[in-house]
């Protein structure tokens, strides 16, 4: 009897049921809890029930997804380029860099055109946001943000204000003033407050509302004047990287793309997600609505661009950064410093544009389509417009793919393509490599 060992038990009130009972010594993540054995059993069972629910949810999600795919496949009876078979192919596409905007001290992350088709705003990693006049290349305004990595910027529809944000988790609106005595930073208005970085922002039809997307997985609609949250959009399971509003005539929706590989279409008023698309294998870097409003394109790190027309999907190949569509043409910017131009109907590449010395981070077409601007990690922005629409019927069949220094280009052009030289009669120094198909 004397050499029996006894287990030392704590005796006291259970933290859960309150009864005075022998307590179990249990630790949950280094916190000691004093429950009686009955409560411990119940707690363990609860945990089980949670896990069961999680896996049953995942199963349900899988079955729903495969059902959706079935439905979509039933309707996917033809590809776009088959329907567009009889449409003439586009002729030679010649685009020239008209302006190079230099002035940012670091990578250009985002840009937006003003509705007057002339001004644009750009933001960069060094924290500066600059408003340029693209015709004269003058810098009209410059603001230094209190944070670096200003990932989003937008021009107000009226042209009187700009919005920008990034690592400061906020979207700030700066009214533009030409008064030299006024400090732009003094009039700054903090509109949006997120819990993680701001990845994209856009004004809606008016200066009064702004839509933002953030690394905290939500999108939100804010009232600029009061800074109030009007609507928030939850549904992404990871950072939202980009958003685009539908063309105003076609309705109150917008599309967002995120690191969870999903592109989601939302209703602005109700905050509901109308549709979601999971066709990419990696983060979706950019989404853009078609001008017609019933389709959108999404570009991703997995090297593809998908155009989702209602439900079916077209995939075009290659690594991407950001696309923009103007009816027939789709522009895409890449990590390999180039910009590809695609014919949407045929699904073929029309042209490659060179010129940037680092990754292309952002692309926008001007409101009237006379030019488009690309911003890059090489600290510059390039505004490109038409040189001339050249009919190269005579020259078809001559393979050219040149990518060299400026002096080499001239030489090649003069020697081989005298026809082109005469027709062009502009500054040959600026001509980008021409791809003949």
């Amino acid at each position: 009897m004397c050499d029996q060992t006894f287990l030392a038990i704590n005796f006291g009130p259970c933290e859960k049921c309150g009864k005075t009972k022998p307590l179990m010594n249990i630790y949950i993540k280094t916190d000691p809890i004093n429950y009686c054995s009955l409560c411990v059993e119940m707690m363990a069972n609860e945990g089980l029930r949670d896990n069961e629910t999680l896996s049953s949810l995942k199963n349900e999600s899988e079955t729903l997804k495969s059902k959706l795919e079935e439905e979509r496949a039933k309707l996917h009876d033809v590809e776009l380029h088959q329907v567009a078979d009889r449409v003439d192919a586009l002729g030679q596409f010649v685009m020239k860099t008209r302006r190079t905007l230099k002035g940012h001290g670091n990578k250009v992350l985002c840009m937006d055109w003003c509705k007057d088709k002339r001004r644009l705003v750009s933001s960069s990693q060094d924290g500066k946001v600059i408003v340029w006049d693209a015709f004269t290349t003058n810098k009209e305004h410059a603001v230094t943000m209190p944070c670096t990595w200003v990932m989003a910027c937008a021009y107000a529809p009226s042209g009187c204000a700009i919005a920008c944000g990034g690592l400061d988790n906020k979207c700030s609106v700066y009214p533009l003033t030409f008064d030299k005595n006024e400090n732009m930073a003094a009039k700054k208005k903090s509109v949006a407050m997120h819990t993680n970085y701001l990845s994209a922002c856009s004004f809606t039809n008016s200066d009064m509302q702004i839509l933002t997307a953030s690394g905290d997985g939500t999108c939100a609609l804010w009232d600029v004047e009061s800074g109030q949250l009007l609507q928030s959009f939850h549904g992404h399971a990871a950072d939202v990287l980009c958003l685009d509003l539908a063309p105003s005539e076609t309705g109150n929706t917008f599309v967002s793309g995120g690191c969870d590989k999903k592109a989601m279409v939302w209703d602005l008023r109700s905050g509901q997600c109308i549709q979601s698309f999971e066709t990419h294998d990696s983060d979706i870097n950019s989404v853009r609505y078609y001008p017609s409003g019933d389709a959108f394109a999404s570009a991703s790190d997995d090297a593809t661009v998908s155009t989702s027309i209602c439900f079916p999907i077209l995939t075009l190949l290659l690594f991407m950064c950001s696309p923009y569509t103007v009816g027939r043409l789709l522009f895409t910017g890449y990590n390999d410093y180039t910009i590809n131009v695609w014919d949407v109907l045929k699904g073929t590449r029309v042209s490659i544009l060179f010129g940037h010395e680092n990754r292309v981070s952002t692309l926008r077409v001007s409101p009237d389509g006379t030019a488009f601007c690309s911003g890059s990690w090489d600290h510059t922005l390039r505004v490109r417009g038409f040189l001339m629409y050249v009919n190269i019927g005579l020259l078809r069949g001559i393979p050219v793919s040149y990518r060299g220094t400026k002096s080499d280009l001239i030489w090649a052009l003069l020697v081989q393509f005298q026809m082109i030289v005469i027709l062009v009669s502009g500054s040959i120094l600026e001509v980008q490599s021409i791809y003949f198909l």
Binding site: K58, L75, A237, C273, C310, V326, L329, V344, G385, Y389
Partner: protein, 73 residues
């Protein structure tokens, strides 16, 4: 302030969100691809004449053309 930060959500909450969304989507009405493609094609071809980036623009009208130098006489 938006109500959630996605990092704070548990896997279970994310799965619940996903399943609810999918349930809604399965019920939607869909159209045949061929019909949608026709509509897109019509839209693009109708706008082709106005599409400066496809058609090009004459140098006089191009706002981005290089300005000539000054001539002092």
């Amino acid at each position: 302030m938006p109500v959630i930060n996605v990092d704070d959500l548990t896997d279970k909450d994310k799965a619940v969100m996903e399943v609810e969304q999918l349930r809604k989507e399965v019920k939607l009405e869909r159209a045949l691809v061929s019909k949608c493609c026709e509509e897109i094609q019509e839209y693009i071809l109708a706008g082709a004449d106005d599409d400066t980036l496809v058609k090009g623009i004459s140098e006089e009208k191009n706002p981005f053309k290089e300005k000539g130098g000054c001539v002092i006489s």
